[in-house]
């Protein structure tokens, strides 16, 4: 049986990192908003400090939607599918993946918006790698700054500013673009280990600073400060110190009385009317099919699902998928060049047993275009990050640095001595979009509903590999300066399913090469908006969520300001 519901102003598909932000300005403006979320509410009692459950068993969630539709990867169009993962990194729940993310909350740097023009200006157009489809964003950092500022306050971000209205503060990131004011909270505290690393960076002439995080360093909006107890690298926070949208923007939106949240609502498609406008969202709940008519539809299901929902929503007007008459849905896909890390062994205890991944020190000297690339064979760079967070299974699975076998008595003796003496690093590096890296639907593999899963066809290019190797050199030097006695470089791997998936519904002025316009609305379907990193045309060298949230807020505000044209 199909139930057709009363029409609403705006239907938002997914109440995660970005949908959970967009509902606030909409509800505050008095719109009638329905949030359709595949997951359920989770509560502090679900967020036990339990490494096995959080990091190995797909973590607590009542609705296992993501895990039943894990995208399938292949490195290129003629290669076989890679082995499929068994746990999807993303979350189904009110708050989405911000429930269990690391909460590093970065703004992009100015260069990330202008990769093509800045590279051309400084080094010549020939430096854009062959085959890359990269474009400048339709606007610069200054356009997004007010929304970054808003989200930092509404969600709650701690950090140390490095550039307030052009005044550089060396305690923060001296390479960041100008911001209107300080962060609403001071940065998370450091540890003796992070201080050791900061000192080593200074000796190298670099500029270490504490990274920004959507984690409370002090009481914020009546929520607890962080207690630094750990286990939240893939776990929720039982004291609500981690500012997921489930504890920040969504409750504020609900309080207006204008947001109706439907949990366990699994959206399967978007319908269009005779004029090619989005008219309704179809979803399943407990075996029943519901049609939710809406004047405006915002998709916010994370990159893979954003693309998949569009491609699954075919109609007479859009035979190749919604908003895909220009063939751009799924194109310009990239993930962060997040792997290719460096591990280090020290001759003394580091005590990273407590803390959290956002409690660390960043180096931006080798990111973006913060250094001269004249004599280098790549553009872009990497953000170097070290932090205090380690759990027992992870520690016991440590790399043995060629000093011990992987098991047996010698292994045991090694681990007993060194489990507390090693460190990893998180090196996020610029990735560019390429013609042959894309998302589409798999031809045979489906979810339990029989709908094809998303297929990822993508691999790192030589350009990405050269860049990764350069950044690993810097990280090794940093660890050595701090006293490491061994370092190991981790492989780059292929461009597999990622927590930082960009593109697929790129934002830009040209409808021939972009799915959404500069405000996040479809070039082909005027009342359809797309939220999330799927609209981002460059990756930057830092985590995506704050940028995706700022863009989402901006899209929602644009809708409010232009309701009569977009929703009319």
């Amino acid at each position: 049986m199909t139930v057709t519901l009363a029409a609403t102003d705006v239907a938002v598909i997914g109440l995660g990192g970005v949908g959970g932000v967009a509902v606030l300005p909409l509800a505050e403006a008095g719109m009638d908003v329905v949030g359709l979320e595949a997951g359920t509410w989770l509560s502090p009692s679900d967020f036990a400090p339990d490494e096995l459950r959080n990091n190995y068993r797909g973590w607590p969630q009542a609705a296992q939607k993501a895990n039943r539709e894990i995208p399938v990867h292949r490195p290129n169009a003629s290669a076989p599918d890679s082995p499929r993962g068994s746990v999807h990194p993303m979350m189904n729940g009110v708050g989405g993946t911000t429930l269990h993310y690391w909460a590093q909350s970065w703004r992009l740097n100015p260069w990330d918006f202008r990769v093509v023009s800045e590279t051309t200006r400084r080094y010549g157009a020939g430096r854009i790698p062959a085959g890359s489809t990269v474009e400048d964003w339709p606007f610069g950092l200054e356009e997004l700054e007010p929304w970054y500022d808003l989200v930092e306050r509404e969600v709650g971000v701690s950090g140390q500013a490095g550039n307030v209205n052009g005044t550089i503060d060396a305690r923060g990131n001296i390479f960041e673009g100008p911001r209107a004011r300080e962060y609403p909270m001071p940065p998370l505290r450091g540890t003796e280990f992070t201080e050791l690393m900061a000192g080593a960076a200074r000796r190298l002439g670099w500029n270490p600073f504490p990274g920004p995080a959507a984690i409370n360093s002090e009481t914020y909006d009546n929520r607890s400060p962080c207690l630094y107890h750990g286990f939240c690298s893939r776990g929720g926070c039982h004291v609500e110190a981690k500012n997921s949208t489930a504890v920040s923007t969504i409750p504020k939106a609900s309080a207006t009385g204008n947001l109706r949240i439907e949990t366990e609502a699994h959206v399967t498609g978007i319908a269009v009317d005779g004029e090619g406008r989005a008219s309704a969202v179809e979803y399943l709940n407990d075996g029943e099919t519901y049609i939710q008519p809406a004047r405006v539809v915002l998709i916010a299901g994370y990159t893979y699902e954003n693309v998949r929902l569009l491609l699954l929503s075919t109609s007479g007007a859009f035979p190749n998928g919604l908003s895909n008459n220009a063939g751009q849905v799924g194109r310009h896909y990239m993930t962060h060049n997040q792997r290719a890390g460096v591990l280090a062994l020290f001759p003394h205890e580091l005590n990273r047993w407590y803390g959290l991944p956002a409690q660390g020190i960043a180096i931006d000297d080798w990111a973006d275009d913060n250094f001269d690339h004249s004599d280098l064979d790549f553009i872009g760079g990497g953000n170097l990050w070290i932090y205090s967070d380690q759990r027992p299974i992870e520690a016991a699975s440590m790399n043995t640095f060629g000093r011990a076998p992987r098991w047996g008595s010698q292994w045991k003796a090694f681990v007993m001595q060194n489990a507390g003496r090693w460190a990893n690093s998180y090196l996020q590096k610029t990735t560019l979009p390429y013609e042959d890296n894309y998302l589409d639907l798999h031809s045979t593999i489906t979810d339990p509903l029989g709908l094809p899963v998303c297929r990822v066809t993508a691999d790192y290019k030589d350009h990405d590999r050269r860049l990764a190797s350069y950044i690993q050199d810097r990280m090794e030097a940093w660890f050595r300066e701090a006293g490491a006695i061994e370092t190991v470089r981790q492989p780059i791997g292929s461009m597999v399913v990622s927590t930082h998936a960009y593109g697929g519904t790129r934002m830009g002025d040209d409808p021939e090469t972009n799915v959404v316009d500069r405000y996040g609305f479809s070039h082909e379907v005027p009342n359809l908006g797309v939220l999330g990193a799927s609209v981002m045309g460059t990756s930057g060298a830092r985590n995506p969520t704050l940028t995706a949230q700022a863009l989402a807020w901006r899209t929602a505000e644009h809708l409010v300001a232009n309701w009569s044209t977009i929703g009319g």
Partner: protein, 215 residues
């Protein structure tokens, strides 16, 4: 069964040999072994259980540095998970343990559990090098799976049946769960007192048993 017990006796003797440094550990090992013998495995056959116990005992041995996977209950952790989150790995385990035992008989002339430690290690090294037949997809992948699960069973929250008596966490020098951690406890040489707590000793957290935990 006699092979099983004699293997256990050997382990106890090995533990006792390290008595100078590990008196409490060897006593502990003995106590737990007795408890083990009483409880039947839930999902593995007794033959497979015997092989698996012998394997985990070589992966993370009980030795002069103290107890290992046997005392932590890693094999029982795996057995229990095979009835739940690892349910779809049941046939992988059954076939893999059979193939491992067959390789032991072929190369050393005896079932794996009856070989001496060096012979057992040689069998496991063969698996690691993919120099053993009869595994799907291959021997090294099977060993990887067992190794990962042995590590999980030795070092996860004791709630899941492994890491008994916090043996694993003590082995690593991990000072245990704390719900609030001050700056001093994050110093490099903090040497914080060990807490010996399972997350589910804390009443504020719901136990993860039941539906929804496995993908």
């Amino acid at each position: 069964m006699s092979a099983f017990l004699s293997r256990r006796e050997m382990l106890k003797r090995a533990a006792a040999a390290g008595a100078a440094t590990a008196v409490p550990h060897s006593a502990l090992a003995q106590g737990l072994s007795d408890a083990d013998a009483a409880e039947p495995f839930e999902n593995l056959t007794s033959l497979h259980a015997r092989i698996l116990e012998a394997v985990v005992a070589r992966l993370i041995p009980s030795d002069e540095n103290g107890p290992g996977a046997p005392e932590a209950g890693a094999a029982r952790f795996i057995d229990r998970a095979l009835g739940g989150v690892f349910a779809d790995l049941q046939s992988l385990y059954a076939a893999g343990l059979d193939a491992l035992d067959a390789h032991a008989r072929n190369t050393a002339g005896q079932p794996f559990a009856e070989l001496d430690e060096d012979q057992q290690d040689a069998v496991l090294v063969d698996l690691e090098r993919n120099a053993a037949d009869g595994f799907t997809p291959d021997a090294a992948s099977f060993l990887d799976v067992v190794l990962q699960h042995t590590v999980q069973g030795t070092f996860s929250d004791p709630h899941y049946g492994g890491n008994r008596d916090f043996i694993g966490w003590e082995m690593l020098g991990y000072p245990g769960l704390r719900l609030a951690v001050g700056p001093d406890e994050q110093a490099m040489d903090a040497g914080s007192q060990t807490t010996r707590l399972s997350a589910y000793d804390l009443p504020m957290f719901d136990s993860p048993d039941g539906e929804g935990d496995s993908p």
